[in-house]
Point group: C2
DNA sequence: GTCCCGATGTATCGGCCCGATACATCGCTA
DNA sequence: TAGCGATGTATCGGGCCGATACATCGGGAC
């Protein structure tokens, strides 16, 4: 999952670890807390070892500081990395449909085709519907088994499920009829989301 | 976090691993997927080694099956375990306020005092408010930086934050004025779970 | 003027937790 | 009688987190 996120971001811009972390945090918003360094740097090395990314002649003291030994290490994605990213974003396993997995996929939807988007959206909906049914069962048949707080938690969870299903329905409808997210009144759609094109 | 959940459940009933897993899954509803065996059994051993729980003379073939070697292992909580649980549920670190941590704490709110509940509820609210402010900033100032899907994700996250803050406000108000979760119109009080839909 | 603090930056370590897998028994259905 | 799904315990590899260490720079406090 992390692989996809990092590859996806590097596809837009070469970056160093610290920057990557911040970009990811704002892009994923609420989905993920913020990738930890204990994950980030080992992952970058793993991706480099696999050939998906390379160090981009870091030249220390480039933009602002770090004049001494080992300045910031800027990574850029390779051709194999782009292939890998395309594979990752198109293939959907079970982990694609849990909260974190779906969030990352969705954040990079602009880089996929409509068929993939629909498949993932529908898989996610199925997952949430199952969760919802489970909660309904529990709430309907287990009145005396739980205390008021536990019940409230389950009720709140059920509410979130119903809301998310509605959200997904809307997205699916929009997707089917050709267009990107609706954005009814809240905000304007800033130009068309361009799938690919790496240089701004 | 897992420690708290297991200790909390064993405080209600002695149980074996498999049962623990199922109980936890229904109790926590949407919060946690369902504890994996790769976590559960090592954790039980760790808790036992620490003296928080003990094997309860398992006597195989007790309830239904498992007549041969190594039947189900039933665990029960010890006095030290109860102390430990009380410590865990009362003390609130930063991990208390993220999704999983808060969910587990909340699920066992019936076993805490009002002061602790209020402290945790307010800490959680603070956390979500921070998240919400972060998302508002991103959404207000970064119109052209993100594609429509990313924006939609952030907007959806913001919506969830606002909703959760409202939920927490309500809980805090109820808590301050003495009584447990309100359950205004959504569902009846525990003993009469309204039958909904059809269930053959 | 200097001193500390927070942001920027890379890196490692211990530990929690998950997914996959293996093994074993029971009860139901085909 | 054969298979399958639920029940049940257990291990292994690996992803990811939190804490920590180290290093530099800019700015505000004193």
């Amino acid at each position: 999952m992390l692989d996809m996120a990092i590859l996806g971001l590097l596809q837009e811009n070469p970056m160093h670890g610290y920057e990557l972390r911040k970009e990811l945090a704002t892009k994923l918003g609420t989905i993920r807390a913020a990738i930890s360094y204990g994950t980030l740097y080992p992952t970058l090395k793993r991706l480099q070892a696999a050939g998906w990314i390379t160090e981009s002649e870091s030249d220390p003291s480039m933009i602002p500081p770090m004049t001494s030994k080992r300045g910031r290490v800027v990574y850029k994605i390779t051709a194999e990395g782009k292939e890998r990213f395309a594979d990752l974003i198109a293939q959907a396993g079970p982990e694609t449909y849990d909260d974190a997995g779906f969030g990352v996929h969705f954040a990079f939807f602009a880089r996929t085709d409509q068929a993939t988007r629909l498949r993932i959206l529908e898989g996610r909906r199925r997952r949430i519907e199952e969760r919802r049914e489970g909660l309904r069962d529990v709430l309907s048949r287990a009145g005396e088994r739980f205390d008021a707080y536990t019940l409230e938690l389950q009720r709140h969870g059920l509410d979130a499920c119903e809301r998310e299903v509605r959200w997904l329905e809307e997205l699916i409808t929009n997707e089917r009829s050709g267009r990107a997210p609706a954005t009814p009144g809240t905000l304007d759609t800033p130009e068309t989301p361009r799938p690919h094109e790496d240089r701004p």
